[in-house]
Subunit: 199 residues, 2 copies
Amino acid sequence: MAIQYPNGKIYTPNKNSLKTIKKDYTFSNRGKTLEDELNDANEYYLLHEIAVIYKKPIPIQVVKVDYPSRSGAVIKEAYYRTPSTTDFNGVFKGKYIDFEAKETENKTAFPLKNVHLHQVEHMQKVSHQDGICFLLVRFSALDRYFYLPFEKLHFFWNRMLTGGRKSIALIEFEEHAIEIATRYSPRIDYLKIVDYLKD
Amino acid sequence: MAIQYPNGKIYTPNKNSLKTIKKDYTFSNRGKTLEDELNDANEYYLLHEIAVIYKKPIPIQVVKVDYPSRSGAVIKEAYYRTPSTTDFNGVFKGKYIDFEAKETENKTAFPLKNVHLHQVEHMQKVSHQDGICFLLVRFSALDRYFYLPFEKLHFFWNRMLTGGRKSIALIEFEEHAIEIATRYSPRIDYLKIVDYLKD
């Protein structure tokens, strides 16, 4: 299912959005990671009071800290920890939003090894609490973006666990996910889909 | 306003909660920080499928990483960054929950310098999105806990900005906040208050 969303809102520039436009216009979108693009979208949502959604910091275990001066601490030894949740969460129209974003260079399928068991478990708990939960996938080589609701991800995950294929085919995204048509600003307007699905 | 919550739920022990009880029973609550206590509460909520709420990782700017072996990366230089949001967020019955937790040794007032401007701004944005937003304060020397809804915090914050006192008096907490009566498990059952206020 591919839905083309019309740009329903009338655009009212203000000081902040003009700055955003200039940035987008100058640097286009080349070379941006999916995370960059989603941070751009979230910044846009924040400025326009549409939603409050942030990427969570990467969890780091700090072992050794030096205080070379009054001005601040320097961490000298630390380790990356495995996140126990998804990357992004926040609030949109009172509802809790929680999602994971992944990109693949693969042109025909999304390998499920990109998603971790603890993330699926977390999303399941969030779904039980009536949070809005989804996976956002970019097929980078194709410049195509899909919004896969958690229930669908869960189906494909269980298919893998019961001996089925270890990936989700592009053709399955075309059938079971919603394709996000890129826009001018924000480029990845994923909340349009959240808004559409919640009614 | 001080509300004593009866323990309304019938307690059904399971493997996980027995472990929790043992831990609480053995070590009591002495020496725990407020953050520890809230992590305990959130763990309880997660195990009992009441809510999915986590403390966010502390944001750290990584400058230098070594890869001494295949087993993993070692961060050799990094710096603490100022968080742009509050400490805790998550979902409870579909609603977005967002709060900051602070403790003070002061026996008569909570100094507002413990709260940062960017946190108040963040909470205001969350409130605009109909998220549930509050400040949780522990007067550690008194072993008393208060739930201050964001609207009240905002009032006291603005009082400070307009030249008023730079703290919230204990007596003001007693009047404008909800005191959390500690329980057996979880000790700080703050979601009882969220549940009470949202109806």
